[in-house]
Each structure stands twice: as structure tokens, then as C-alpha cells.
Assembly symmetry: C2
Homo-oligomer: 273 residues x 2
Amino acid sequence: MKNRTIFFVSDRTAITAETLGNSLMTQFEGVERERHVVPFVDTQARAETLVKRINDSYTVNEGRPIVFSTFTNDNLREIVAESDCIFYDLFDDYISRMESDLRQESSHEVGKSHGLIDKSSYESRIRAVNYALEYDDGAKMDRYDQADVILVGVSRTGKTPTSLFLALQYGIFTANFPITDSDLDNCSLPRAIKPHKRKLFGLTISAEQLSRIREERRPGSPYASLRTCQREVSQVEELFHMENIPFLNVTAISIEEIAAQIRLTRDLDEIHF
Amino acid sequence: MKNRTIFFVSDRTAITAETLGNSLMTQFEGVERERHVVPFVDTQARAETLVKRINDSYTVNEGRPIVFSTFTNDNLREIVAESDCIFYDLFDDYISRMESDLRQESSHEVGKSHGLIDKSSYESRIRAVNYALEYDDGAKMDRYDQADVILVGVSRTGKTPTSLFLALQYGIFTANFPITDSDLDNCSLPRAIKPHKRKLFGLTISAEQLSRIREERRPGSPYASLRTCQREVSQVEELFHMENIPFLNVTAISIEEIAAQIRLTRDLDEIHF
């Protein structure tokens, strides 16, 4: 087992090839030995270099390399497909099917996918990142009317990375605000975010993991103790319930899953493009 | 034209379906009227609700909706495939081909793709984000030995969003450092980053766009004037050439393309997983 090299290749960024190939490879455990991402294979010379690299990446006793590709250029695709590999090209497999299903020819244009086609969408993502940075951890509170969502939770529950992910990936304007001890003691939302209740989304986490994360920050502190974390987590979940704020326990899930759940709950799918 | 609704659906996050479908749809301009991302279709009831939503999303005079899906569960996939749509399921199309090519059965496990399988990879991404935030804009300089890459450039060339994207998406430890007027006048690199020259990557941009971006920040300032921007851009490119630092003009490209180019140039492909 573990005997194949995986290549993700494209005449553009190879992001789609990598996402596609990653998803599929998770269904075949123990196959992958190593992986290479090769973007911008946009000339014949580069395609030929890639072929050599693929062919050189294994010996006869090993499994042939697997190549996931998304070439918009048919000639370059054909060159790479000639290498000694198991070859899956997303565009080759779908474009002609889609042309017939949609009764429309494809444009065959390179770089439309992750290129800068839609300038307004690119800029809205950058703006969203700037917003997320300015409105991180309750640093600023004057423009919450611009927020699409405001993440809330006790310290170290992943509010900042989630905010940045939503901003960068989807252009969603995301602020985040900490729930502090005094909020928990009063069992009430911080005053600054009360008027924006329908934008709130709570993050929570297991007390054990929270304690472990906080230990890295301030080892041996009461802040990081399991007891404090248990109390804060149970109080904040009670607060979310009481105030009817949707929330998610992020202990065992990825940032992509958190983001997907927030978009779904807050109905943010159609905002960004 | 513009007469079809596009759905991206999955029993998990639908990220792969969305990436795949987005890439393919860019080759068919003018088809898409609106789009919906529907993640977590993981019960029969949800699948049936989705079918109703798909069927209700058009009238007979319009084109049938297009559904891009990635169901690991065959039963749920079959329910959704029965809706009145053009249906493309990535897993259905590839998994059996791969099983035969690899002579290995797939695991058919849900949520492996963007789920929290590899805890160390998840945590390294969060760590990378924390690093990027701490080492943003030269704020800290004591742990550059931990950086995988240090982005350099004059003010407002996209260093911060690019750093965060590399960190969040790939777990690449990315610092960034500004090139200031005095560096440009001396035509030398800032002292703090000189010892880490092989980690540097430069970002540059057209003077016109730079001026426009800076105008938003400080309208009418000398800092934002076209003349200042022209001087800074030409000086910084000269500096990059002289010091032999790879750099990229980001004027007309997306953050995904910038990231792909940095990973390629700095050979950062195999770092993160």
C-alpha cells in the first residue's frame, strides 16, 4: 500500500483539480505516498517537463501515479495524458457532456475559474477581510450594520479564524465579539451586540479541548483550567439557548464545516457573488 | 439565456461540489440565473425537501436546473437524482472508475473530505493563522525562522489578505513586511528581513490600481497620489530585481492565483499535510 504519487495539475491554479482529487482520494485510504501540486502548465514545454516528472516518479514495482487535472487547453491535456499514469481530467469528462446537455458550446477559455474575472467579487473579498480584521474580538463596534454575521463565544473558540475564512472564501462581512465572565454571570448578551441579535452565531467547544488550547496560551493559569472552561462552556451554551441564538459545537469539525453551517443557518449563500 | 438555477449539494459541506461546479460553469457563460449551496443533505427527509426545492425552482418555459453534487451516500444521491434536473454527481462519476483503476474498494465514508480527519493539519492551519496575524506588517520579527515565506512589498499591495489565505488554506506560515520609503531611497532591503532572503516573495501592482486603493484609505493624500505610487512601484521592482527576489504583479489576478504562484516559486507544496 501507500505506493502511489498523486499529481494535481492544470494550466491555471490547479485549485479545482486539488479540491476534486483530495475529495476522491479520501475514499481510498492508504493509496497515497506523496503529492505534488503543479499549477500553470500552460506551454508545451511545461507539459513535456511534467510528463517527464510523472514518468520519473515511480519504478515498475510501484503503482502508477494518479493525475487529477483540469486542462482547458486540449493540446496540453493530450500531452500530459500520454504520460504513464492513471489520468482523470475533470474538464474532459464533463465539458462535452455539459455541451450536449445544455445545447451550448463551451468557451474553452483558460483561467476563467479562479482568475480575476469578477473584479467586484475580488474586491468584496478583500474588503471583507479588512472588515474582519478591524472588527475582530470586539475591537470596533461602530459599523455592525455592515456585518452579515457576528460570531460570538468565549475566548479561544475559533472566532477569528472562522471570521477570516468566511471573509476570504466568500466575501462575507464577519465581525466577532467575545462573551466575557461578566456577561456569563449576568446571563445576558453584551450590550454592544444586543441590537444585532439576528446576525449572531455562537461557537462553542468541549471544555477539555478549550482547556488544552488555553494552556498553550497561558500555561497553568486559572483561565486555562478545566474547571473554568467547564463553567464557561456550560454558561455560554445556556445563554445561547436562552437568547435563541443558533450555535455550533466546533470540537470535532473542520473550519470548512463550520463555515458551511453558518452560511446555511444564516442564509448567506447568495450574498457574495 | 440566463435561465437556469444552479444547485451545489452534498451530504457534507458541498465545498467540492461548489468548486467543481463553479469551474465548469465558467465555461458556459450566460446560463446561470441564480445559485444555491445546500450542504448537509444527510437524511432522507432533507433529500426530499431538496427535491421539492429543485422542482419548484423553475417553470416549463425555463431551462431545467443544473445540480452539481458529491453524495457519498448512494441512497440519498438516488433520491436527489430523481428530481427534474440536469444532474452531475462527482462521486458517482469517478468512484467506480477509480475502484476499477486502483483495484481497491472505496470506503464510502461520509465527511472524510472536509471533515476533521487530520487533527494535526487542522491545528497547523489555526496556528498558521495566528502566526500570520502576529507577524503581519512587520509587527513582530523575533520568530522569522518559523516562517515558510515572508511577503514583501510597498503599502497596500495585498500582503495581508495573501498571508491569511496561505495560512488558512494551506497551513503555510506566512509573515509579511512592508518596504518603506527609506528602504526604497537606500535601495536596500529592511535589515530585519535580510537574513531571511531565501524566504522572501515580493508583491507588486500597477501604479494606477495602487493609487486607487490608497485613495480609499487616505483620499487626496500625497501617499495616494499617482506620482508617489509610480515612483514606489518602479523603485520596489528595481529592488526586487537587484536583490534577486521573486515577485509577482498582482494587478489582474486573483488571490488563488497569487497563492498558487507563491507555492510554486517557493516550493511550498508539500509543507502542509
